[in-house]
Symmetry: C2
Subunit: 367 residues, 2 copies
């Protein structure tokens, strides 16, 4: 609804309308109503669909109904992986997904999502908001696509994946048919893994038919929902390939620049809250799913051997820089993240890593 | 400024005013302007003062200037620890601090801030937003004081503190004069530590004069700013006493209930974003401070011995339940947090703890 229609529908006519229009010079009203369309790569039903709906409801609420975002979840307007195209073409003004979904459009954009052996969720947020991360992601990945980026969710540390047999040595990797997208998959390829890329809907069928020997997905809650435990029982940790994955809100850059400061504030803080809520929800639900997988579905929790962690880690430092060398933007973004990572490692080790080890010394009981 | 004054100042008179008033039935305008006062326990200069200013600026911006919060930092209107009194007495409508600052008012409220060997920052956020934490804190701590609570910042994992000599065994604790407020201090007392409570401004003088043998403060960035390294060099980790500390935004409950849904949305999401921003900023600045403490100021990084971590952890499970038994509210809140903690430990160990150990296998270099 445009401002003119709003005034008309409010039932005011003639001179009173003119007086009213001039009497309230508030920017929100004088600039009229803004109606955006958002397209998501995620389904309506899951927690990400719900979080996007709540974000849109927030925008509508705090703008007094003057800024609305009509949400189309995956498949409702365009296919999941067409969300970025839809924003570029002007069909939508906002999109939602994970940066590595758009790797076909940009050599650098996957680095925004996650890097094997890279930053944790807490470190990614430090990078994004106070380490120049949003600015660098815009400059080196999103702006060249005509887009503006904001972090809008995080999966936290993912699980290492599901295997149809125990995997202990580098030799065990050779010839394995494994689904792992992104940079992690590129590293596994270098060990002779037959890396398979499959959309989410085809993962369980491929595992069931034996077309793949294993797959990584997300974490306990999402993996349990997908039913992977029904076919294979060897569940590996930790998720070295995606220590945390940023989800991206992205906006038509020209439309973003047309927003006034109030509207930008709504989107910026609103998306930051969504970022925190999604990470918090994943954290809250993963443990109960894990307990159910272990106790009810009798899966086997396997820690990646030191041999594998060390060999894959060393290989990551060869493969990833090679991938980053594909373009100047990818190289610059890789360098920015690697530099930030080097400033995080010591503090996270002294604090979080040591604390998590120490905590086991106390076993509190309800009173 | 009240709505009537606003209309008057907008320069509209007589019948046109009446028409205008009825023509725009938007809740934001029809309910007029709201002006709140906020009082903080933190100084203006630090990152917490800045974050509160930015929160108030956000509220003003997205409300189109119709909801303003005038911020008074520590000492500007009332003394730091009088912030809660100021809200209870109606001098202010909002306060900002750390829950354990108000321990004199409530037996349960310290549990909202932190618990020795308790939740990490990511787990606290999961507890607050998706584990019923905000609801329980309101019911058992804030509502009985006539207040509404929202998390509005987190320090992340703190450091264990500064000592004038190495501390390796339980015997080393006996007779030590150490500053540690809250539940951690209560545990140390049980080992014969002479626990001293001092306001922040007196910590460095007391350390310098030898009135205390050591102190905990926050983390590398804040500790360096305080100059503690100038007097003592033994810096201990991890911060078992405050694995993470929630900062609290609190509101006059009657004023909160008078807010419309738009105003509540502004405060709720605005404070969640502040929560994330503060944790992210602490994470971003702690490592460079740590490097400077180690390399320039030549401090000694000491890990608490297994003997101490285990003995203190075991004692925590005796002392804290005893403190929680002081009132029904404290007991209920302790039980709620302990139950949530038991649902977090496994997942955080499999994911974050194992990942942080594995990460050292990759040493990325700029290209």
């Amino acid at each position: 609804m445009k401002r003119r229609e709003f005034i008309k529908k409010a039932g005011v006519a003639g001179v009173a309308t003119a007086a009213a229009a001039s009497a309230f010079p508030s920017p929100a009203i004088s600039q009229g109503r803004k109606q955006w369309i958002a397209v998501s790569a995620f389904g309506k039903a899951g927690l990400l669909g719900q979080a996007l709906n709540e974000f849109a409801a927030f925008v509508k609420s705090v703008s007094g109904g003057k800024f609305t975002i009509k949400v189309y979840h995956a498949g409702e307007l365009v296919k999941p992986f067409e969300a970025l195209d839809a924003v570029q073409s002007g069909t939508a003004q906002m999109g939602y997904g994970a940066p590595y979904y758009w790797a076909g459009k940009s050599d650098s954009i996957s680095f925004v999502a996650a890097m094997p052996y890279g930053l944790t969720a807490q470190e990614q947020n430090a990078w994004a908001y106070f380490g120049g991360g949003i600015e660098q992601a815009d400059k080196l990945a999103y702006n060249p696509l005509g887009l503006k980026f904001l972090p809008m969710g995080n999966t936290g540390n993912q699980m290492g994946g599901w295997y149809n047999k125990p995997i202990n040595t580098v030799a065990d990797l050779k010839g394995l048919k494994f689904r792992m997208p992104g940079l992690g998959g590129e590293i596994l390829k270098s060990f002779g893994v037959n890396v398979v890329l499959l959309p989410g809907s085809e993962v369980l069928p491929a595992l069931t038919s034996g077309a793949i020997d294993g797959t990584e997905w997300i974490g306990p809650a999402a993996d349990m929902g997908k039913g992977l435990y029904k076919v294979v029982k060897n569940y590996y940790y930790p998720g070295w390939h995606e220590p945390a994955t940023i989800l991206d809100g992205f906006f038509d850059l020209k439309q973003w620049e047309k927003l006034d400061s109030e509207q930008k504030d709504i989107i910026t803080r609103g998306s930051a809250a969504t970022n925190l809520f999604i990470l918090s929800k994943f954290q809250a639900i993963n443990n109960s799913a894990l307990q159910k997988l272990i106790n009810t579905h009798k899966i086997s929790m396997n820690k990646y051997s030191d041999e594998l962690i060390n060999a894959i880690g060393a290989r990551a430092t060869e493969v990833i820089p090679k991938i980053a060398s594909k373009s100047a933007d990818a190289k610059a973004l890789y360098n920015h993240i690697v530099k930030f990572r080097s400033t995080m490692v010591d503090w996270s080790n002294f604090s979080e890593a040591n604390y998590l080890q120490a905590r086991g010394a106390a076993n509190f009981k309800a009173i």
